[in-house]
């Protein structure tokens, strides 16, 4: 399963709900406003770090860049992908669930 999340974790519970339902080996891709959840030092960073230990966590590079979030501020273990990488993730995982 590939989960996509597009909400800032400081505004809505989409990321929290996604993390609670992502099982071992699942992939999580943060896009749009959810990319703020990929940065170090936030109040949700511990939860995202824990998720990165059991799932694969990705963040969409163009959305990060658009928002001025530098890649060196990312939580360790999070991988940056572009839109083509996003497509590859959907090919690798048979089901995609959007947490809106």
């Amino acid at each position: 399963m590939l989960h996509t999340v597009n909400k800032s974790p400081f505004e809505r519970n989409a990321l929290a709900s996604c993390l609670a339902h992502a099982t071992d080996g699942a992939a999580i891709l943060l896009i749009e406003d959810a990319v703020y959840g990929a940065t170090k030092g936030t109040s949700v960073a511990a939860k995202v770090e824990a998720a990165a230990a059991k799932c694969k966590v990705f963040v969409l590079g163009p959305d990060l860049a658009a928002r001025g979030m530098s890649e060196d501020k990312l939580i360790d273990g999070i991988t940056v992908v572009d839109y083509e990488g996003f497509v590859d993730l959907t090919v690798e995982h048979s089901v995609v669930q959007a947490w809106l």
Binding site: P62, F86, V87, T90, A98, L100
Partner: protein, 119 residues
């Protein structure tokens, strides 16, 4: 691989339709097929032919129509959601067609992957 895409939001107000477009473009660039994009909820507004964003901005409806023409993507607007929001044949942009929700379920059955972009 064949993709179906559901777009839940309208143009400009939310990034969902832009993300859907970038995804579709990348999928096609990688040799995949985007069989159908289904516009539902406020997503129907993307098919309004009267959309006229400032010239230096992206023309969302036109971008989809161009993709449809070049790559055979079927752009379907939900008839019921469209009528609710004043989107009908008279206001429909070129490249889109109006049909029922069954078209969404159908692509869900036929496509290898179903993607949702929304708010």
């Amino acid at each position: 691989m064949k993709f179906g895409i559901l777009v839940n939001e309208g143009p400009y107000n939310h990034q969902a339709v832009d993300s859907a477009y970038q995804f579709a473009k990348a999928a096609i660039a990688k040799g995949h097929t985007v069989s159908r994009v289904f516009f539902y909820y406020d997503g129907v507004h993307n098919a309004n032919k009267l959309l006229e964003a400032p010239q230096d901005e992206r023309q969302i409806g036109k971008l989809w129509a161009e993709m449809a023409k070049e790559h055979g993507v079927d752009l379907v607007v939900c008839v019921a959601a469209g009528l609710r929001r004043g989107l009908k044949e008279e206001t429909l942009a070129e490249g889109f067609r109006i049909s029922g929700l069954g078209q969404l379920i159908e692509v869900g059955i036929q496509a290898d992957r179903m993607m949702t972009f929304g708010d």
